[in-house]
């Protein structure tokens, strides 16, 4: 494989991130490899390479052809021969594989013409989908390790100054200024210091760190080396969830390659600086994303949080000064050093600089990873980039910040999102999950879902979190089952106050956000569950009955075909009916119907 790309050479990039692999992209990649043996009459030299996640997983497997700038969607192995025959040999488009813009109904040739990409601003994700994560040469061809070379010409204080002036804040959730964190660690006198990359992305609904670790592992390594010089550490750890198999594999390979080529080890780039990185695979505990719990886990203890009267920058891993930054934060470091703090700080809002990667998922047309400047409005992200709500339904809320965050209603769609505005709205940035909910999402059930998640993830060390979350879950479950009382709402608020004030770590302190934010913005939904015993969204099964509106039903048979319990019957082209005895209230028909013929009674 070569990184040189003369104009008559073509590159075929096959996305092989987790999402595209699930849709069969490895078969596509192998088909290209097998079928691209030199043939007589073919002069173009082409190679296919596996790239990291483009984030546009919904349309996967994705195949890009450069320099023609053609993007094909939902490619299967059977299409490969046609792509080679038409596009590679004759320069023609395979039209059926082009993306059709859902709004203009036009087919587009390149992903660059699609709103989903056009409105994004790639900084942390700059290489993802462009380079082969398994190739150090590829990374070098895209200015890889250039920032490191530049950092060697700077003093540790200069590096910290640069990061501080850039205004970079930690992308893991709380938004602590990265430069300040580094400075407070750099001033410590200690025989040893450590540096950690937090890749324990535990928020359900978020996958930006996975994508960076899988798709551009050298960026994380380069950022960490620069950090090690700034604070004076010679040993770093990357803590990754073991479930992220591909991320572990690609990071491991990148570390080996970096070592073999003098970017890690005793004498980095011949400058006499020693630093090395070890991967620690996490055990699937959400609380380990909390930095002191994570340090306990690295040390080989149960991942329970520590008391925080001393900061990790003073006493962290094995009692030594330690800095922990999130994957996306590390990925920003080389950019700041290379382009300069001013350039970085010119992007973003007043107090939150740079860009943020969000995983835009849920009931939105275009799902995937989205990187936008801080201060972009929710409306721009969900409607301009995301293409609006699926099946033209009404937007109800967007959940941000994972289980520690909250639900933001339609009234706040024009909120310019950054660390501070989200906190004011009763939610938080978190690691950047954006889960879009439509009119058929029950907000009470969403709150119950998060509390259920947190009840399972509370480490049990402190009483308010361990007992409080369980009691709140009981209350929410009984409201969802139709046994709630109005006093329950006061009780939920009361318990929330206790958890916020008395929990030992952020897991318990923020566990109340999903409840309080839904109570604040969607109180009428709680009341209708309690008073009318009704779940208007059709989610809470004890409170829901589905029925078919005969005037609207076209008798297309789609619901009948997909009903898992054969509860729907009817003649073709005649209105169908649901047997209430057989119906399990799964809502499949309701979500599937293209005509809105199924109603919640």
């Amino acid at each position: 494989m070569t990184t040189q790309n003369p104009p008559d050479n073509r590159k075929i990039l096959v996305c092989c991130g987790t999402g595209c692999q699930a849709s069969g992209s490895m078969d596509v990649f192998l088909a290209f490899q097998n079928q691209l043996h030199p043939e007589p009459g073919v002069t173009v030299e082409t190679y296919a390479k596996a790239t990291g996640c483009n984030g546009w997983c919904e349309q996967g497997p994705l195949v890009k052809i450069l320099p023609d700038d053609i993007t094909y969607c939902r490619v299967q192995a059977k299409h490969v021969a046609e792509i080679i025959d038409k596009t590679i040999k004759q320069g023609e488009l395979v039209k059926k594989l082009l993306y059709r813009d859902p709004v203009t109904k036009k087919q587009v040739r390149s992903h660059h013409e699609i709103n989903f990409y056009k409105k994004q601003h790639k900084v942390a994700l700059r290489h993802i989908g462009e380079i082969d994560p398994a190739s150090l040469d590829d990374y070098l061809a895209y200015d890889g390790y250039k920032a490191l070379g530049q950092a060697f010409a700077m003093s540790p204080a200069d590096i910290i100054d640069e990061i501080e002036r850039s205004g970079l804040r930690g992308r893991g959730g709380a938004g602590f200024p990265t430069g300040r964190k580094w400075r407070s660690c750099a001033v410590q006198e200690a025989s040893e210091k450590y540096l950690v990359c937090n890749g324990d992305e535990g928020d359900p609904g978020a996958f930006m760190d996975r994508s960076i670790m899988e798709g551009d592992p050298h960026t994380v390594i380069e950022g960490m080396i620069i950090g090690s010089m700034a604070i004076g550490a010679h040993k770093g750890f990357i803590y990754v969830r073991d479930e992220y198999g591909l991320a572990v594999q690609n990071l491991g390979r990148a570390i080996q390659d970096a070592r073999a080529n003098g970017y890690l080890g005793e004498d980095i780039m011949g400058k006499g600086w020693a630093f090395d990185i070890e991967i620690v695979r996490g055990g699937g505990a959400f609380v380990c994303g909390e930095e002191t719990a994570l340090m306990n886990s690295i040390e080989g203890n149960a991942g329970e949080p520590r008391d925080k009267y001393v900061y990790p920058t003073e006493k962290g891993l094995w009692g030594k000064p330690t800095i922990i930054n999130n994957v996306e934060t590390w990925a920003n470091i080389p950019v700041i050093i290379l382009a300069g703090a001013e350039k970085f700080a010119s992007i973003g809002s007043k107090n939150s600089k740079g860009t943020k990667v969000f995983s835009l998922v849920g009931k939105v047309v275009n799902t995937g990873l989205v990187e936008v400047p801080m201060g972009t409005t929710l409306r721009e992200i969900i409607f301009d980039i995301g293409g609006g709500i699926l099946k033209g339904k009404a937007f109800k809320a967007v959940q941000t910040g994972g289980p520690s965050g909250g639900c933001i209603p339609a009234e706040l769609l024009d909120l310019e999102i950054d660390f501070d505005s989200l906190t004011e709205a009763g939610s938080m940035m978190g690691s950047g999950g954006l889960i879009v909910m439509d009119e058929h999402t029950c907000m009470v059930e969403v709150a119950r879902y998060y509390l259920h998640f947190l009840a399972g993830e509370s480490c049990g060390k402190c009483v308010p979190c361990r007992e409080g979350i369980d009691r709140m879950l009981e209350i929410l479950t009984r409201i969802c089952e139709g046994h709630g009382k109005m006093e329950d709402l006061d009780l939920l608020e009361d318990l929330s106050e206790t958890l916020k004030a008395a929990s030992s770590c952020a897991l318990g302190k923020t566990a109340t956000n999903p409840v309080l934010s839904t109570l604040r913005y969607f109180r009428p939904e709680y009341i209708s569950h309690i008073h009318e015993k009704r779940c208007a969204a059709g989610v809470c099964r004890s409170l829901t009955t589905f029925d078919i509106i005969p005037e609207i039903c076209t008798g297309c048979g789609l619901c009948e075909k997909n009903c898992p319990v054969q509860a729907i019957r009817g003649e073709k082209k005649e209105p169908h009916t649901i047997s209430q005895e057989l119906c399990i209230r799964c809502g499949d028909c309701f979500n599937r119907c293209n005509f809105g013929a199924i109603k919640v009674v």
Binding site: F207, G284, A285
Partner: protein
């Protein structure tokens, strides 16, 4: 338990001894063991305690703290249904019910014939193709409640074919 020692298969001992005698490698040992055996056998945990020279209770505490580990054998086909937020609002709970209807197991259980086991996981990071289910490393995307039955019936077909051919 003095006097009662179960001989640990050599390959498991090798997995454990591949790491230095330091408690910070216990998590990695357990992960490798689980990949090998599908669960953590008690004898293997006892061997870890001996190798790292810490009480068995501490090893047990770690094995039960982390969600990824199972202390009971899992089925030949281990089904993970993602119940992350994106999958949840796309009706992953219905998938769990469907699996119960088809195989009569709930999350955390293994079918009596040892063929299937089920667990829910909190997010595998494939939210854009929700709801997602993983059976022995193979990821199934946008699973519908009818589609899940096809997958299970397909696996049952494979099991029967294998039984016939062997």
């Amino acid at each position: 338990m003095p006097g009662i020692t179960v001989q640990l298969p050599e390959e498991l001992e090798r997995i454990i001894r591949a790491y230095p005698s330091d408690k910070r490698y216990i998590l990695a040992m357990m992960q490798d063991l689980q990949k090998q055996c599908n669960y953590l056998p008690r004898e293997a945990l006892e061997e870890i305690a001996r190798h790292v020279e810490i009480p068995f209770s501490k090893v047990y505490a770690l094995a039960t703290f982390y969600k990824a580990f199972s202390l009971v054998p899992r089925g030949k086909y281990h089904i993970k249904v993602c119940d992350g937020t994106a999958c949840h609002i796309k009706s992953s709970a219905v998938l769990i019910d469907q699996i119960f209807n088809a195989i009569a197991i709930r999350p955390g259980e293994t079918s009596p014939d040892g063929m299937f086991s089920l667990e829910t996981v909190n997010c595998i990071g494939a939210c854009a193709i929700a709801p997602v289910m993983v059976i022995n490393e193979k990821v199934y995307s946008k699973v519908s409640s009818a589609g899940i039955l096809d997958v299970i019936n397909g696996i049952r077909g494979d099991i029967n074919d294998n039984a016939k051919s062997s």
